[in-house]
């Protein structure tokens, strides 16, 4: 079991989760509204500076960011090939800055705080009868909590392929991964019911 949260006592750790989440949402909007490479470079440096202020170290930072950086690299290459170098640069700067901001928020906000804030944000929807706010908060908390678990499970299946000398194929990777994930989801759902967590208002 892993968590994206990293314990610490930095300014961002002490900042209210609500302020962090609202700021991240506003930063995302701004990054997508402005195409100026100069502005995006400043945003990237700011994101890098904030991330560095967490003092996670290069190794931990890279291990947390490489999956998203790989995705950004792929999107950049496609943009370069299908559009123009200028647009590829904008995509690269924009997404990398956003990834750095988001990683800083997830590293300094515990899953419990995420759940509380999302639950509060969903209260207006609950008042008009659309959703149960606690369920929305719990769902998002579970996604944050169990995403790294799915990655660990994928690595175990990949290792099992290697151990048996089998070639990695999408189907033989995906099927056991889906089955194991669903089986775990059943157990987790039962645990949530058994602990009475969904009865909370």
């Amino acid at each position: 079991m892993k968590t994206l949260y990293v314990e610490g006592d930095t300014f961002l750790h002490r900042l209210s989760p609500r302020v962090k989440l609202v700021s991240l949402a506003l930063a995302s909007l701004l990054l997508f509204l402005i195409d100026s490479p100069a502005f995006l470079v400043i945003a990237l440096l700011l994101g890098g500076g904030i991330h560095a202020s967490l003092r996670l170290g290069w190794r931990l930072s890279f291990s947390r960011l490489w999956p998203i950086l790989l995705t950004i690299a792929a999107v950049t290459v496609f943009t370069f090939l299908l559009n123009s170098p200028g647009q590829a640069l904008v995509v690269l700067l924009r997404l990398t800055a956003l990834a750095l901001f988001a990683a800083a928020v997830t590293a300094t906000t515990s899953t419990g705080d995420f759940i509380d804030e999302v639950t509060v944000a969903a209260r207006p929807l609950e008042r008009i009868g659309l959703v149960k706010a606690a369920d929305i908060g719990l769902s998002i908390g579970l996604v944050i909590r169990f995403l790294p678990e799915i990655l660990t499970r994928y690595q175990a299946i990949r290792d099992a392929h290697h151990a048996r000398g089998l070639k990695l194929r999408p189907l033989t990777l995906a099927v056991p991964l889906i089955i194991l994930t669903l089986r775990n989801a059943d157990e987790i759902a039962a645990a949530i019911d058994a602990r009475g967590i969904r009865t909370q208002k």
Binding site: M1, S110, G112, A134, G141, N184, A194, G196, Q200
Partner: protein, 225 residues
């Protein structure tokens, strides 16, 4: 503790997994044994209402599991076979606090309750730790703390010493024997339940023996060999 099965039968996908069962349980420590697939876990899940009977009733401290599921689950704590899946939040103290949210306690009251339950099991030093960093025994104690913080009347444990090494098994066994709560323990670990007040033996979805630990365990050995 007052548990009553009244001709309660469990079915799964049209197949009967626990045949009609009538019995009353009021002893403080009850063991449940049987071969794999014998109906032990289904029986335990029926006690806390995770499985409701297709026919008949299960009453726990006066509440019907089919009608008062939430009340029944407030009366019964459940420790699953794999405690990893029971810990919902990554940091231990946050996970324990999650179970108290429905109580509408103040932050101080919640923190105090979490501290008390961690102290009770001697794992206060693990409060800030992540569940994936804990050993098997610590994880089992963490799951116990996460359930007992809500002070249930009955604690059900499904194979609590499964997959533990000798040291951790000893730690968990001592903890179980020291619990004040009413406990129902499903286990293949026969020494663990050897001094329990009553032991139930399930075989092929039926109650095959019910009584003192020594006699029921002896019957189990006959079936298993």
């Amino acid at each position: 503790m007052d548990i009553r099965f009244e001709q309660a039968e469990a079915r799964f996908e049209g197949r009967t997994v626990l045949h009609p069962l009538t019995l009353s349980l009021d002893e403080r420590r009850i063991g449940v044994i049987g071969l794999n697939g014998s109906g032990k876990t289904t029986f335990a899940r029926m006690v806390n209402g995770l499985v409701v009977p297709a026919v008949g009733h299960v009453m726990v401290n006066g509440f019907d599991t089919a009608k008062d599921g939430e009340r029944v689950r407030a009366e019964t704590g459940f420790i699953f076979q794999n405690p990893q899946n029971q810990i919902i939040l990554p940091i231990l103290k946050e996970d324990i606090a999650l179970g108290l949210k429905s109580r509408k306690l103040s932050k101080q009251e919640t923190e105090s309750a979490v501290r008390d339950v961690l102290d009770r099991f001697g794992i206060a030093h693990l409060a800030e730790r992540r569940a994936h960093e804990l050993s098997g025994g610590e994880l089992q104690l963490a799951a116990l703390a996460s359930v007992l913080v809500t002070k249930p009347n009955i604690l059900i444990m499904d194979e609590p010493t499964n997959q533990l090494d000798l040291k951790n098994r000893g730690l968990v066994e001592r903890t179980i024997h020291g619990l004040d709560e009413n406990v129902i323990v499903i286990s293949h670990d026969l020494p663990l339940i050897a001094d329990f007040d009553r032991v139930l033996l399930f075989h092929e979805g039926r109650l095959a023996a019910d009584g003192a630990a020594a006699e029921t365990i002896a019957r189990y050995r006959e079936i298993a060999t």
